[in-house]
Amino acid sequence: MILLLRRSIRDLDWTLILLAVIITTLGIVQIYSATLDTVWRNAWWKQFVWLIAGLVLMYAIAQVDYHTLLGRVPIFYIVGLLVLITTLFIGTRVFGSRRWIPLFFGFHFQVSEFFKLVIILLVARYLTEVKSQRLSWFDLLKLGTLVAIPMALIMKQPDLGTSLTYVPVLLTGIFLGGLRWQHAVVIGLVAAVLLPAGWFALKDYQKARLVTFLDPAKDPRGAGYQVIQSKIAVGAGGMWGKGVTRGTQTQLRFLPVPHTDFIISAFGEEHGFTGILVVLGLYFLLLMQIVQNAQAAPDRAGMLICMGVAAVMLFHVFVNTGMAVGRMPVTGIPLPLMSYGGSSLLSVFAMLGLVNNVRLRRLVA
Amino acid sequence: MTDFDNRLMDIAPREPAVTRFRPLSWLVVPLLAIWFQVFVHRFVGYVSYLELPLLVTIYFSMMRRQPIIGSVFGACVGLAQDSLSDHYVGMFGIVKTMVGFIAASLSLRFDVDSPLLRLTVTYALFVFHQMGYWAVAKFLVGQSVDLQLPQMAIQGFLNALIAIPFYLVLDRLKEEAR
């Protein structure tokens, strides 16, 4: 047992963990800097606690064989859906959307973040069970529906950003699982038709965000305000940045939510392009490491799990950091590992746990 | 590591004679010094130029010949001194940490029992201490303090002069090196 424990610890992907911890630490420093003199001034400390909790969670998840987890996917899926539905009714309303359900000690739990894990496992299991290099229309439709149900529930919260994070998992999955190019073309066409229709299903503020993404100057005090202020903050950072706690836009609160969604803007202002390069480089290494684990996975399921994690992370990083410079719409999805928030951090470490899980089993076969 | 550093390293490691003190003196002497600083000034105004905590820091760091201990000791003395005054805690702490480190590092390279060297080192470190405090006050805390160089020079000399007999008294506390 002890031997096993020692082995399992030794075989963990320490590079991956080190990278994650460094990024989280940078995040904690940035949270500290961005929340001086605000009601959030203890956030960095809490984030530190979350980091520890995340590492523990990661280790725990790495221990249970992912095949076992895959076997439980239907239960996870149904329980997850039930919790999502409950959230719609009893969830705590923050900024007009019900995403959190209250938990012990006054902590709130964002179900949609953790449902990502279920989606990753779901896609992995489904595509493993198909056992074919070519997906049929029926397969695509069935998998699409399975993913779309929770997405619809989360959009209902409403939380467009998080629900969209499930899409890259699905897309990456079917791409790797064997998407036929004919199907891809058809799907592309259908999406092109459905997107305008989907436009009407969006809430007003979501539309506004998309509109301002296209033209931020249109509504400088409203939805566009965030983008404009974020760009100013990032741009003012320059090459070397203004230094920790010296970013005027961050410290004078011109930058909205500088410790959660726009933490990269605050970081960009205070550390400049140099800092951004370092952080993006770390993220890139992190992703490469995950992909490397996918390549070394013992089986298809493990590979799909790792690639699902990579897809989610890439999407998060891409949308969030792109949003800070006005290259992506403001969708309110956090930057993994850096943004303040227990649910987000824990779910990322849980995903890293999955990756480690796969890694621990690479030699078994 | 530069060439110069290597050369230094080559010269340095003659095994320094570490002086040991009774553990109690590590506690009592600095406390007395701080206490003197706080409470004796009131009775005898003309000793206000004396910086006994600094002298104690220098002495102990120098005699112990270990930069880590010097730094920690300096930090403790400085913080204690800070907490008894009305400015921010840490101002003396930072300066005294550096003094302790420098004193201990220097002690690796010279004979700590030579009075002349003691005098010189004390004088230099006093000036460093005052300058450091001034810099901390001005640049970190943002106070407007004047740097009175001539006064500092004289005070440093006086402190160094006092330091020689003072160190001799402290030498009595030594335990024989084992």
Binding site: - | S71, A75, L79, S83, D86, Y88, V89, T97
Partner: protein, 376 residues
């Protein structure tokens, strides 16, 4: 990594220490909050020693002075008769005892003469910085001392309690930068605000009537700051600059020399503070407003000059009095026309029979009533 740490152990520890303290400093500077806990430890740890040493030092002080005087007396006695010397020595000794007891006695007597309830305290330490104008006293929140209480001696005000720790309190002195007290001058009753500057002299601010304030006038606390009870001496005014437009007044506080024992004014707590704050020293003590000045001769005048009046108002008052004094109603029934050059009847009216034409107080004599003044 380990080799890295081992090789740079010294510098790493130094850097860590410095970083930690820098963070501590940055925290304080950024939030402008003190690390109160550390200070409480430090003060509580040091003050008992200080108290002990203080009492020992007082004892030795007595012995020492006695010794000195004995020697003086002995040398004197060499030229005097031996028998008397013994008595002299005893006498001197007693006198010495008296002198040391004097200060405490004076303070005690003084405490009994003032209406406020006070607690005597002994000064046990000063601030560590060279220009800090603070002292520690040996009474703390355990003795009922709270923040913002006035500290005085029989000579005048000393300062106020800045923070009260369990066994000791920190007192900011009058001269500390940022210290403010409401004062009123003794003779001209000019109100002003006394400000500590961080040097030995305080300045006066917001002087109500700078023209009236005279050099060397004594200042007393006005009680309006609700910290110091009314009527404690503060110091003498020194007019350092006086022109039509610019004034500068300095005050040398009287009570700060040779501070040994002080009184802390504890009574005068006005109204209970509802929520007892977590730490007992967090209270703010507010005195009741000072009683209105006794109705004196200048009181009505002060009222008329009151807050925000112009020369027009003063002149109007003057002419009204003039009219009343001469029984003249303005624009009224014909009669003897008024004489506007008569002296304005003052608060202490001179006998009405005094020859009106007589020149008084250097004023120009009443104007001659000639037919139209001749023009050149």
């Amino acid at each position: 990594m380990e080799s890295f740490l081992a090789r740079f152990r010294h510098i790493t520890v130094l850097l860590l220490l410095l970083m930690a303290q820098l963070l501590l400093l940055a925290y304080q500077v950024k939030t402008n909050q003190e690390v109160r806990l550390i200070r409480i430890w430090a003060v509580t740890a040091v003050t008992p020693l200080a108290r002990a040493v203080e009492s020992v030092s007082v004892y030795w002080n007595n012995v020492f002075t006695t010794l000195v005087r004995q020697r003086e007396v002995l040398s004197e006695n060499e030229r005097l008769k031996g028998e008397v010397s013994k008595l002299r020595i005893e006498n001197q000794y007693l006198q010495g005892e008296l002198a040391t007891a004097d200060r405490a006695k004076v303070l005690l007597a003084f405490a009994q003469t003032i209406p406020s309830k006070t607690k005597a305290a002994r000064i046990i330490g000063s601030g560590t910085g060279s220009n800090a104008r603070v002292v520690y006293v040996d009474r703390g929140s355990a003795d009922g001392i709270a923040r913002n209480m006035a500290v005085v001696t029989s000579k005048g005000i000393v300062g106020k309690v800045a923070s009260a720790y369990p066994t000791a309190s920190l007192v900011t002195l009058v001269t500390q930068q940022g210290f403010v007290a409401g004062v009123v001058s003794q003779v001209s009753r000019v109100q002003a605000i006394l400000r500590g500057t961080g040097s030995d002299l305080c300045t006066l601010d917001y002087v109500r009537n700078p023209f009236a304030l005279q050099d060397k006038e004594w200042l007393y606390t006005s009680g309006e700051d609700r910290v110091f009870p009314k009527g404690f001496p503060v110091g003498q005014v020194r007019v350092t600059k006086k022109s039509n437009t610019e004034f500068e007044f300095k005050v040398q506080p009287v009570a700060l020399d040779h501070l040994e024992e002080v009184l802390i004014v504890v009574e005068g707590i006005h109204g209970a503070i509802p929520d007892p704050a977590p730490a007992p020293s967090q209270e703010v003590v507010i005195l009741p407003p000072p009683p209105p000045a006794p109705a004196s001769a200048e009181a009505p005048a002060a009222g008329a000059e009151g807050f925000g009046s112009t020369d027009a108002d003063r002149l109007r008052e003057k002419y009204r009095k003039l009219g009343e004094a001469q029984g003249h109603t303005y624009g009224g029934s014909p009669g003897r026309p008024p004489d506007f050059n008569k002296a304005v009847p003052s608060a202490q009216p001179k006998p009405a029979s005094a020859a009106p034409g007589k020149p008084e107080e250097g004023k120009p004599p009443a104007a001659p009533k000639e037919p139209a003044p001749v023009k050149p």
